[in-house]
Homo-oligomer: 386 residues x 2
């Protein structure tokens, strides 16, 4: 079913570090026993720096979407006016969730591959002064754009009382956000991206100031009722049986992040981004996103001399190198390389080297070795600077 | 954190078979790739016999509660009249979910430790002819009662058009239900009980006849929208990133169930039930539930010569034998032994032997060896019959 030599470079799920696999592979425990409490009490405070908050980071068993939905159902009521920035498939999902829950949704549509500007959000917010919440995506996984969510949050807070709710699914653990200082109210993430775990857990970081809204919100919710998660967390528990093996793994992930130090983890991702982008330029591969707006966790390429799907097919069949394609109207138009979590500059060297062979097979014109050389050079430059 | 020698005998989470652990411990894959489709297409039809249905068994990443909630939000609208049998903590949870979603809930309160009678449901249903759904618990984990859900479903279908929705979280994989023949419309389960997996996956088996209700239900839902799961399953996919490592494990669990044969799996659970109960009787340990109403997956004991919590403490500290206590008003009153999933008659011999030592420490009067002998005798009797 799976090949031992596969090289998984999609923007999630991502490869699992061996020590995390070993941590997950432990005898099962009861979720109401002392050992589970110890585990939760150990994990809960260590998650806070990863989300840049002193507030609680709640752990929900479910995909990232379940956590996005929890942010919506706990803070809004039918008829509330909200603004959603839609610049890709995941902004669109956030908007769909809001529409499903009968909110009055104003979409700020941004061309796929570009970031929203702070002034755009500002204009929409001034036009709709009753806006209850602004929904943003940090890294838009479908395009590889990283939106300036901290700047936007700061501006929103200056001019309105709207909540700022951010999807950090494909960035948290790979790019830093100072949630508290920037004014972000809720920051959501998942386990299977830069957090180096299999899918199945999601995270909801909730700023202290949001609890009064959540507390007084009459909207029906049960599994995703964040009050239940907060109340149980006081006693080191979860309201419902959690995905325990993933919690075992999470403990080791936090150890890995702390051992490397978060600032260096974020630098490593920045280095992998620059290595990948410089290599693409050297290989005449058009990048979908500008340098300033590009994500440090995923890079999108829009080839103009061959079919994106053809490249993915050869890379997969010949080398087990698994890349992602495009979504929605970018399907067949782009391919995406995930470089996050359990991924290091050495992996970039490897996938760029493989891509050169595949490009050769596709008849794409480029100088042999130029991609790897550019990646090496970007690496040397950044590490000299550091 | 965990001790290598622990013997986990709570009614979930339950121990994981080594081959299932190995299956989960595999390199991560993309959830939109061909390998994941292969996996889902392999799993989906093999789940059907376990739920006794020819309908779809949908796999939701979340605890059992998320699946119970999905049954509620997909089939009901605010104001609908429903009947919920409440004979323990999990019946109560089903009622709470229904109340949260603004249903008019009639609770049939049954003393904890007893099963509901078919005639009781019949009476309530005749008194409320507009009832849209009847919610039942198959094995009430908090007491160890197994309710006659097949008989009740049959009767409900004869006299009304109400849906029958069953919580099979702590029975499916350990006790058989013929969902289609008995008239059960939705049957829900979780991964961490008799299904021998860590927590994190839940299952929703949906009878073909229910889809028109689900299809036409306007209630807002997103992550738990069963239509999305059904539609994606046609293409071997899930709507949201699934807990992939648990799906790897599920494939091996299905292999284990098929290899042993489902009817023999159910017999093994019946044997473990009788061994445990006969041993308790021989050891002068009062059983909470009658023979006819007792579950084949969990046994509750209400001691009258020592404190239940004291027994649990000594068993845990001295032997790593982890048993469950009571919930709500049975807290401190009972202890519960889980014998389901990755558990065999040899494990029953072991925990009964350990219990005898603990009972000795507690000054409980009994004939030394009588518990083990009774368990052995029950085993021999059942295997001779077979």
């Amino acid at each position: 079913m799976k090949r031992e030599w596969d090289l998984l470079h999609t923007p999630g799920p991502t490869p699992i570090p061996p020590s995390v696999e070993r941590s997950m592979n432990q005898p099962m425990i009861g979720h109401r026993g002392g050992k589970c409490k110890e585990l939760m009490n150990d994990i809960a405070p260590r998650l806070k720096p990863v989300f840049g908050t002193s507030g609680e980071v709640l752990v929900v068993t479910g995909s990232g979407t379940s956590a996005l939905e929890s942010a919506v159902v706990n803070t809004t009521q039918p008829g509330d006016e909200v603004i959603v920035v839609v610049a890709g498939a995941f902004g669109d999902r956030f908007a769909q969730i809001c529409e499903t829950y009968e909110l009055k949704v104003t979409r700020i549509d941004v061309p796929w591959g570009e970031a929203v500007e702070v002034s755009q959000v500002e204009e929409f917010l001034q036009a709709s002064p009753d806006t209850k919440a602004v929904f943003l995506t940090h890294c838009e996984t479908s395009t590889g754009v990283m939106h300036p969510v901290e700047e936007i949050a700061g501006r929103v807070k200056e001019i309105s009382s709207a909540l700022v709710i951010v999807d950090g699914v494909s960035s948290i653990g790979g790019a830093g956000i100072d949630m508290d200082r920037s004014g972000i109210d809720i920051l959501v993430s998942g386990s299977q991206k830069a957090m180096m775990l299999p899918p199945g857990l999601s995270f909801v970081a909730v700023g202290e100031q949001v609890w009064s809204v959540i507390e007084n919100n009459p909207r029906p919710r049960f599994y995703l009722d964040l009050r239940k998660y907060r109340d149980q967390l006081q006693g080191g528990q979860t309201p419902f049986t959690p995905a325990l093996s993933l919690l075992f793994g999470l403990q080791q992930v936090l150890h890995l992040l702390e051992e490397e130090r978060l600032d260096r983890v974020y630098e490593r991702h920045q280095t992998m981004k620059e290595m990948t982008r410089d290599a693409c330029r050297a290989l005449q591969l058009p990048l979908l996103v500008s340098d300033e707006e590009a994500s440090s966790t995923v890079t999108s390429i829009r080839p103009d001399t061959f079919e994106a799907e053809e490249l993915r097919k050869i890379a997969n069949e010949e080398f087990g190198l698994i890349l992602a394609g495009g979504q929605k109207h970018l399907k067949g138009e782009i391919f995406r390389i995930g470089h996050m979590g359990y991924c290091r500059p050495s992996n970039v060297i490897q996938y760029i080297g493989i891509l050169e062979i595949v490009l050769d097979r596709l008849g794409h014109e480029f100088e042999a070795g130029a991609g790897v050389a550019a990646a090496q050079s970007a690496y040397l430059k950044r590490t000299r600077e550091g």
